[in-house]
């Protein structure tokens, strides 16, 4: 057997893995096949003489593509995918409704978020306006002409405070 026909044997085996792992997300399947391809390349380089029997043994030790794919499927559990999607539900109906329903739900959620933000903004603005009005800012002071006095009083109050605190701190 020539090197290229051994390559073909390896490619066929990897194609079977990809086929068995067809239900995995594309990036996970590609990663699995790449990892196995690399393993085979390293193991082939370790063979003293590359023979068909040697390559066949490498593939046999790797095992059944279906078992490897099953392990990869189970492997979703630990981090990203807790379970493969429920298999017994109406298969034809699910993909048709899900993509349509999700954007709708997302759209509705964004409407509610917008409303909530608007309400909060209005309330905050109301508070600021009320606060400013209470302090006599907002032009009311100029019109009334009396307002500057109450504004000046709180500014003068703090200045004696540090003087009285400082001797206390020395003790």
């Amino acid at each position: 057997m020539t090197g290229s026909s051994l390559d073909r044997m390896v490619d066929d085996w990897l194609a079977r893995v990809a086929q068995e792992a067809a239900d995995l997300p594309g990036d996970r399947r590609a990663e699995l096949v790449a990892d196995l391809r690399e393993h085979i390349a390293v193991a082939r380089a370790d063979l003293v003489v590359e023979t068909e029997a040697g390559v066949r043994t490498i593939l046999e030790r790797l095992g059944d593509p279906a078992t490897i794919a099953a392990e990869a499927r189970y492997g979703g559990g630990s981090t990203t995918r807790p379970e493969p999607p429920a298999p017994q539900l109406p298969v034809a109906a699910a993909p048709a409704t899900t993509p349509a329903a999700q954007p709708d739900r997302r759209g509705r959620a964004s409407v509610w978020i917008t409303v909530a933000i608007a309400v909060v903004a209005v309330v905050c603005f109301g508070c600021v306006v009320a606060g400013l009005a209470a302090y006599g800012v907002f032009g009311v002071r100029e019109v009334v002409g009396e307002a500057p006095e109450p504004v000046n009083v709180p500014i003068e109050v703090p200045s004696p405070t540090p003087a009285s605190v400082t001797p206390g701190a020395d003790r």
Partner: protein, 116 residues
Amino acid sequence: MWRMTEGFGLASSLRRGTLEFCVLALLRERPRYGVELAQQLGAAEALATTEGTLYPLLSRLRRSGWVATSWRESPAGPPRRYYSLTRAGRSALEHFRAEWVTFRDAVDRIVGTENR
């Protein structure tokens, strides 16, 4: 969830939760590449599994952030991807070591294998 089909027997059920920590333990002293890990695990008969299933397991460990990978040139053959233990992987392994002793002792007491 119990599936007693080929490849899902008792030994493989026992391996399920422990093999990944054996892999972490093999990486404790130094980084290793895939074929090397497969050989090490294959040498331990009770842990022996088809070598191909090691890669989904390594992928899982990588996604958990317990191992990191880096490519290194090899004196012979293609570059090799080396797996090394991360800090998180190291503490996961330490956690397992403590849990394992408690677990093993409890099972031994109940199953009656303490003095074997």
